[in-house]
């Protein structure tokens, strides 16, 4: 076992993947705080599922597995899905949850249809395309890590720069407008960062479970602090830990899928926080009472 570890750590590709999972985990944990507080958990789940047809479609079109190409497709279908969801909510009597459910399942189903088309009708090396469903760290190469890393850092940078605006608009939208924050721009920016994190996360975590890397660390972090700044850092750290442990365990133990391991780690962190968190944990609440 130990020798396995050593060889793994010595493999340069694995080190790259580790860095990638760390950055991805941190940025999605940080952005996830705003997703959670704005009650957009389910809509981001819909957006994540909706990336699948985009990935498959770009592969059919260009017969190319290069990550940036596939991710452009993912972005387009994800945005399309979001606007469909909003259209349904606006124009029919269906409520948010039904609108998300409809779009999520139809887009995902169509994605599966396209994937099966690829498997049946296309030659060439298509291995790794269906790893987008549950995520596979092993399918990630150094170039992919560049994409993931650069986008993650960019997301983090913008989050730091506009933290106050994100904070204020999330807490009190109308007031923020009143004090001169360009609220529509800030909303758009935050939304773009969310899309970016989802899109770069699908290769490692998979479209089915990426939403967990957004909201579970945020939810866990909420139990440790009453300050949004600290919450964002804690959530990012939880996300990074989850990414790291998930990637390592799935690489050491054969057949273990990466995405579910990342999510499971995050879930464990959540349950620990739910019970023992300093400010809101159930045990603390009991003791105070």
């Amino acid at each position: 076992m130990i020798t396995e570890w050593m060889t793994l750590l010595e493999s340069p590709n694995f080190r790259w993947v580790m860095i990638g999972s760390l950055l991805l985990g941190f940025s999605s944990g940080a952005i996830g705080c705003f997703v959670y507080l704005r009650k957009q958990s389910l809509i981001s789940d819909g957006m994540a599922h909706a990336t699948l047809p985009g990935v498959a479609f770009m592969y059919i079109l260009f017969q190319n597995k290069s990550l940036p190409v596939l991710l452009i497709g993912a972005t387009v279908t994800s945005l399309l899905a979001t606007s469909f969801i909003q259209m349904i909510i606006k124009q029919t009597k269906l409520k948010t949850d039904a609108a998300i459910g409809v779009i999520l399942s139809v887009f995902f189903g169509f994605g599966i249809l396209l994937l099966s088309y690829i498997q049946q009708n296309m030659s060439g090396n298509q291995a790794g395309i269906d790893s987008f469903i549950f995520g596979q760290a092993a399918s990630i190469v150094k170039n992919d890590v560049y994409t993931i890393g650069v986008v993650s850092l960019f997301v983090l940078l913008l989050t730091v720069i506009f933290f106050r605006e994100f904070h204020y608009t999330t807490f009190d939208f109308t007031f923020s407008k009143g004090i001169g924050i360009p609220v529509k721009w800030i909303n758009g920016l935050l939304f773009s960062l969310l899309v970016a994190v989802i899109v770069i996360g699908i290769q490692m975590v998979g479209v089915v479970l990426i939403v967990a890397l957004l909201i579970t660390p945020a939810l866990a972090a909420r139990y440790w602090t009453d300050s949004l700044g600290k919450m964002t850092v804690i959530s990012g750290t939880f996300g990074a830990i989850s990414g790291l442990i998930g990637t390592i365990s799935s690489s050491v133990i054969q057949d273990l899928p990466t995405g579910p391991m990342i999510v499971l780690t995050a879930s464990v962190l959540f349950f620990i926080s739910l019970l023992f968190g300093f400010t809101k944990g159930l045990v603390v609440r009991r003791l105070v009472r």
């Binding site: 507080l37 606006k90 124009q91 720069i161 106050r164 204020y168 999330t170 807490f171 009190d172 939208f173 109308t174 007031f175 407008k177 009143g178 004090i179 001169g180 924050i181 360009p182 609220v183 909420r222 602090t225 009453d226 300050s227 949004l228 919450m231 400010t279």
Partner: protein
């Protein structure tokens, strides 16, 4: 001088008209109440003026200038139900929001600003609660914090959406006193209000609204039974609070 003047403002959701040709004027240095039944479009009117709800028609002038929305003229105290009380934020942080335009990017908020925010909390008797998360305050205390934020903002005009809902009598009295003080300083306060009993006591001007302007002007000229009945459409025999609960 007019603090606010709204001409023929209409707002439409899908095919439904929420506000229709609303027009009214609010003189500077007044306390104006917006009165009307549930669903009369009171909150929508505030949001439309702030540019948060698209206006189908009409024009809004603030301090006799066309409202450009980037100006820092209007302070806002939200309706209680619109606040996420579990949000990770404490009383002092809420007040600090009012000082937003004085903050520098990339720098933590200065000691000076924090001290200033503390003086606003002190002014409304909340300085000992500065580090409390907002859900751990009583209804009255929560409203005081938002009032302190309005103080910190120091704008010529304030919008308040049902500020007295869920507030204890002492806080309500204090709030009214504070508003009267603002009025004497030449500021304008516009309040969405529910309780018809206190209208004459609190407001010098009123807008009676039910999708359209029913009446607008000095309270003693406009707030008479005939207009009130037109506003509430005869449903006054069943006050909205009771009619709403019968389900």
């Amino acid at each position: 001088m007019l603090a606010l003047s709204v001409h023929n403002l209409s707002v439409q959701y899908q095919q439904q008209k929420v506000l229709e040709n609303v027009h009214f004027q609010v003189p500077k240095g007044s306390i104006t109440g917006i009165i009307g039944p549930n669903g009369a479009g009171k909150s929508t009117l505030m949001k439309a003026i702030l540019g948060l709800v698209p206006i189908t028609e009409g024009k809004v002038d603030v301090l006799e200038q066309p409202f450009t929305q980037q100006m820092d003229l209007i302070g806002y105290v939200p309706q209680r139900s619109e606040v996420d009380w579990d949000f990770p934020i404490n009383a002092l942080d809420v007040v600090l929001m009012g000082r937003y335009k004085h903050f520098k990017r990339f720098r933590p908020i200065s000691k000076q600003e924090k001290d200033l925010a503390m003086t606003f909390l002190k002014e409304i008797g909340m300085e000992t609660y500065a580090n409390r998360q907002i859900s751990q305050l009583s209804g009255g205390q929560q409203q005081r914090v938002f009032l302190a934020r309005a103080l910190a903002q120091n704008t010529p005009i304030y919008f308040m959406d049902e500020p007295f809902a869920g507030v204890d009598a002492a806080t309500e009295k204090m709030m009214i006193q504070l508003m009267k003080q603002w009025k004497n300083d030449g500021k304008t306060v516009i309040i969405v209000h529910h309780d018809l009993q206190t209208v004459q006591e609190y407001f010098d001007h009123v807008l009676l609204l039910n999708k359209k302007t029913i009446g607008c002007g000095k309270t003693r000229d406009v707030f008479h039974p005939q207009n009130i009945e037109r506003t509430y459409g005869g449903s006054l025999t069943f006050p909205p609070s009771i009619a709403g609960n019968s389900l």
